[in-house]
Symmetry: C2
Subunit: 453 residues, 2 copies
């Protein structure tokens, strides 16, 4: 039975070339994580649905991939639910496991489950795929990797400073120029307090974010429409037009939030993080951005986002501080701060700006041409010597036409071809051809190894 | 709501220590794969059920984890199937995706789907988790990694030789002494032919395998019971008691299979592989084992299995040649040969024999003790210098009691602790303590970097 094979919508195969580039990205991020003292963990792809449900909002519950129970999955399904095709209430009857939706909830579950084995503060990193039943579209996939680093069990702002420094190091290694945008949830709360409309904080941050695009008047009109009193809008004005250096912005904020204890605490935290990172002479710009408002119901302190400067693209990294990650699993009072790197977007940025190092996609270094059984046997010996010297090589497995073997080398991007024919067999030599320059020379295997190393 | 968090049966969390060991295993295997010219691909965790179903036998179909369709998964479910709770026929109505069960079928699907982009022979490796709804038990998990390398598009036996050489290199690097057991499906067919009972081949290989345990008489009795004629059993006798060197075994086989064309072809192939690998002076034993009979309905030529010599354990690697991997997806005539490394068992062997290199579980190299804000600020500067030199380090984020900070260093296995107190601040020095020896010395940051590099 011949089937036309394909893969599920929103999922991807990765070719050798793509894998080489992805490995470069993951390896770079991981090596920086290690340099900063983070340790890797992995959690299962499947979590109990009870762990996942209710953690991502109603929409998130729908986007979880659920695993059908093994065996007779209908044995606990009540007849009346089946009869009415009540697929919503049947879900927990036919499925008790789901695929992880992010790395944060599994991490929280991990911390609580293994609390007795963990030394706090616990600095963990995790690089694994997650799955979401989102409508697939350009740049949005149903399976994608997240690269997260978090510190839990410490509310010191030094953790924020280290994370900013770590982000700087990662993108310095990639050669991507970035701005690291910082805000603080407490500053946002302070603003809401200051204008007497705490419930309008989301509308306000959206408005601040739009000011460049639609202008002050339109933003004001929108805020009025959303029910913000004119007085509050007037109070907001200096904030909506906030610009200049971080210090200038802080000065405006200080006067605006002078009466908000929470707001002033946020400013104090911001000042500490900005001053401490400024002292480190980072390559990246670090910018206070009061329009930044990610995950409002989740983060409680610093929030941050990274944008690439030389290419149009959404944020390529982001994170923040949360004060009660593990509370939902019965372990209260554990503060943490973390960041997540967007591997797919970093992949696109590196492609767009052509920033991959030349050896990223390096493959086999030497292809041995196959001239027949006797020659092939000699090649196997030579290859053992090359490999002992760390040089990757392979033998074309058939004594096919030279043209075909060369085409293979070219297609695979092999930079050197080694030939051991009759005369080389006799003189115990090897002819090495540089596929880029076309130069070739005949030498001993020792000389060849030296040349290729 | 406090939940007691746990993970699904048969799945595992991996701690930093376990991850470090697993990374050592995967990195070692991957680096050898690359040395031999294999290139990495990845395929999605989810495949269409049409790709997976029917590929692993009836039992395999049951062990596939199926994903519940998103949204109203009951909309295509016929009322009468729901009414009769016919969960078997409902499966394809409520689920169209499943988790991959191995890496082989997704690879076959990949090759067919991307046939126009692939240069043959295609040497791919793949290291990804697979999922099976097996009954969990000691050493058997519902999520585990496979590490596969395959060459497709070439029927040359040089591929077999390279794979044997690659296995040798992998286990040499691990320091695990192994025997590589080889057999050939054609030899097994020849044996079945020679005794006139082709359908009894499985019983025969099982019997050969048991001879050491239960003795010749009991094996013969079992074979009689299974319906093998006495004449066939007599013919089998030299095979059942086959021992000695590979050459001695081959001599016996040659006389037994003299009239079987297939059998003699298998012997010829075996001789080529044995001679070619013998010429490579491998560290591992390579042994012809006619009792080896893995995946009979799948492999068509060479089959191989790896056993650790110094520890009781099932096979830790295995593979073979198949002649029609992609036929089920409509692409005939593609021969391939591959091997799979069992990461979980290798993990256990390395643990049992305590073979992990000392630096496998190396973590942060230096912990900076936190004596307060001013000192911490200086530490951040020093850490930037250390990290620029590639030395991993971290700062304890709170100025906690010395004892607590030291306990953190100990628990994490940090080998050096750096102290910058008031006197070090003044003299622009740093005190470094070796946690193993207890020695400590005060020096400049440049000297510290030199010492720690």
């Amino acid at each position: 039975m011949a089937q036309k094979p394909s893969i599920p919508k929103g999922t991807r195969d990765f070719s050798p070339l793509e894998m080489a580039k992805r490995n470069y990205i993951f390896d770079t991020i991981k090596s920086v994580f290690l340099l900063y003292g983070f340790q890797q963990i992995e959690t299962p792809a499947m979590e109990n649905l009870s762990t996942l449900m209710g953690k991502y909002g109603e929409e998130g519950d729908k986007l979880l991939f659920k695993i059908l129970n093994s065996g007779d999955y209908l044995k606990d399904a009540p007849d009346h639910l089946l009869a009415s095709k009540d697929y919503i209430h049947l879900i927990t009857k036919v499925s008790e496991k789901g695929l992880r939706y992010d790395l944060t909830v599994p991490f929280a579950r991990y911390v609580v489950q293994h609390r007795n084995d963990l030394q706090m503060p616990f600095k963990r990193y995790q690089v694994q795929p997650v799955w979401r039943a989102d409508r697939p579209q350009r740049g949005r996939y149903r399976e994608f990797y997240q690269c997260d680093a978090d510190v839990v069990g410490s509310d010191s702002l030094l953790n924020e400073v280290e994370l900013v420094s770590m982000i700087d190091e990662v993108f310095k290694r990639f050669g991507i120029n970035i701005v690291i945008k910082l805000n603080n949830r407490k500053i946002l709360s302070g603003i809401a307090e200051a204008i007497g409309a705490p419930e309008k904080i989301v509308d306000i941050t959206v408005a601040i974010d739009k000011i460049d695009k639609i202008g002050l008047d339109n933003v004001n009109a929108e805020l009025l429409e959303k029910g913000l009193p004119q007085e509050a809008i007037d109070t907001l004005r200096p904030l909506l037009t906030l610009s200049g250096t971080n210090d200038e912005k802080l000065a405006t904020l200080k006067s605006l939030l002078a009466n908000s204890e929470t707001g002033m605490k946020g400013i104090e935290e911001m000042i500490f993080v900005l001053n401490s990172t400024a002292a480190l002479s980072l390559k990246s710009q670090v910018e206070l951005d009061v329009s930044l408002a990610r995950g409002l119901n989740y983060y409680t302190g610093t929030i941050l986002e990274v944008k690439a400067l030389d290419v149009e693209m959404g944020s390529i990294s982001g994170g923040g501080r949360y004060d009660n990650l593990t509370g939902v699993f019965g372990m209260d009072g554990l503060s943490g701060v973390g960041i997540s790197f967007g591997a797919d977007r970093i992949f696109d940025v590196l492609n767009t700006l052509d920033l991959y190092p030349a050896d990223t996609t390096a493959t086999t270094k030497v292809l041995f041409i196959n001239f027949g059984d006797k020659e092939a046997a000699a090649c196997l010996q030579h290859m053992a010597a090359l490999r002992a010297a760390g040089i990757s090589c392979e033998l074309y497995p058939e004594s096919a036409k030279m043209k075909k073997q060369m085409a293979y080398a070219n297609a695979k991007g092999v930079p050197f071809v080694a030939m051991v024919g009759e005369s080389e067999l006799e003189s115990r030599t090897i002819t090495v051809k540089n596929m880029t320059t076309g130069n070739q020379s005949t030498c001993t295997i020792t000389q060849a190894i030296e040349m290729l190393s």
